[in-house]
Symmetry: C2
Subunit: 216 residues, 2 copies
């Protein structure tokens, strides 16, 4: 059903899901493509085009059922299947990840946390005791693990990924700049490059300043 | 010079900058578009096309000077101008942001941190004493501030943004799901939606599993 859908459209689906979740929580039953576009700061034609990629859920003149559309997009994203996940790194970034995200609503369950620094081992995060990173092999052999979250500096990630790959882990949420997908061709990786986002902001501030100066 | 360059190309420049920084640190003087493409897991034609948008820095047969190309991209991104920044939120996420990023290399300087929780006020982060969030108005009036980093939950961000906007702050690095650009039309906002990234990973894991099952 989702064959041939571009990654650009896929990348927009979490946003739809997020806004539809809010609409449903606010008690909205149905929504037109115009209104959905307005909520999402998108265009009605973009919304219709995106949703048509998946067979189109709208009824002419009635708009979309918020509940059904949200459920369908959730299914397309696979959020109804929970992936067993471990987090490597319990420093500030790892802590932020462990405490801020509603993993279960996003298709994941965080089951274990590993850390090299002995000062952090044994602490509790999200009700999980942080284990020493030497325990990774034993844990992954004894427990089903699909995904690893890597909240480590780049130089530590190369070695850790080698170990995780050898254990059969093929999906990674990577906060470092180490390019996992370049090394292994049968993995899926989502990278979060915070510094790239900050540089983009820098560019856009300068463009804003230029346009203000031109107006003056 | 950068008029009419699409945001897609702009969004790729931080990546170029990041890889070129590494190449320069490793002592690489010159690089061909083919090799740069290989390092970046891109294609040579994409690389040439992207860099041509800015006037083209390569010499036929000689490739690009890593140092000059990095410097030029840094200038286009405006990293040579440092933007005075404050961070709102010193919880786990704020801590991770304050401690992990090389702001000065990314065009920013973090000058103050504000937090509502009295337990966190007075602590030191990156050599900066965390101030109570009631001090924001006084601080911004006394000090030049261009940018605010919002490491707060969505429900707190609406009110904080109102205060910051009233103080004249027009650029935001936003980690919440509150849509600042929808409310104010003369601001620049870079959003980091970690949950969207995690949902995209979920989708891609399921697609990977399907393709493996089809092969079997």
């Amino acid at each position: 059903m989702t064959k041939g859908v571009s990654i650009q459209v896929i990348k927009r689906l979490p946003r739809y899901y997020r806004f539809l979740t809010e609409l449903e929580a606010n008690g909205t039953d149905r929504i037109s493509s115009n209104k959905l576009a307005a909520v999402m700061s998108s265009t009605a034609s973009q919304v219709r085009q995106d949703l048509n990629c998946f067979g189109g859920f709208g009824q002419q003149g009635y708009g979309y059922s918020v509940h059904n559309l949200r459920a369908e997009i959730g299914k397309i994203l696979g959020l109804d299947r929970i992936h067993s996940t471990i987090l490597i790194g319990a420093g500030n970034l790892g802590k932020a990840i462990a405490t801020h995200l509603n993993f279960e609503q996003l298709g994941f369950k965080l089951n274990a946390i590993f850390e090299k620094d002995p000062k952090l081992v044994g602490k509790m995060l999200r009700g999980i005791t942080v284990l020493p990173d030497n325990d990774i092999e034993r844990y992954v052999k004894d427990n089903y693990v699909e995904t690893a979250i890597l909240a480590l500096p780049k130089d530590a990630v190369e070695n850790i990924t080698q170990r995780l790959y050898a254990l059969g882990i093929r999906s990674y949420w990577n906060f470092s700049h180490y390019d996992i997908a370049k090394k292994y061709d049968d993995v899926v990786v989502e990278n979060v490059h915070l510094s790239d986002s900050l540089m983009t902001l820098c560019y856009r501030i300068n463009e804003l300043d230029k346009s203000i100066n031109e107006e003056e």
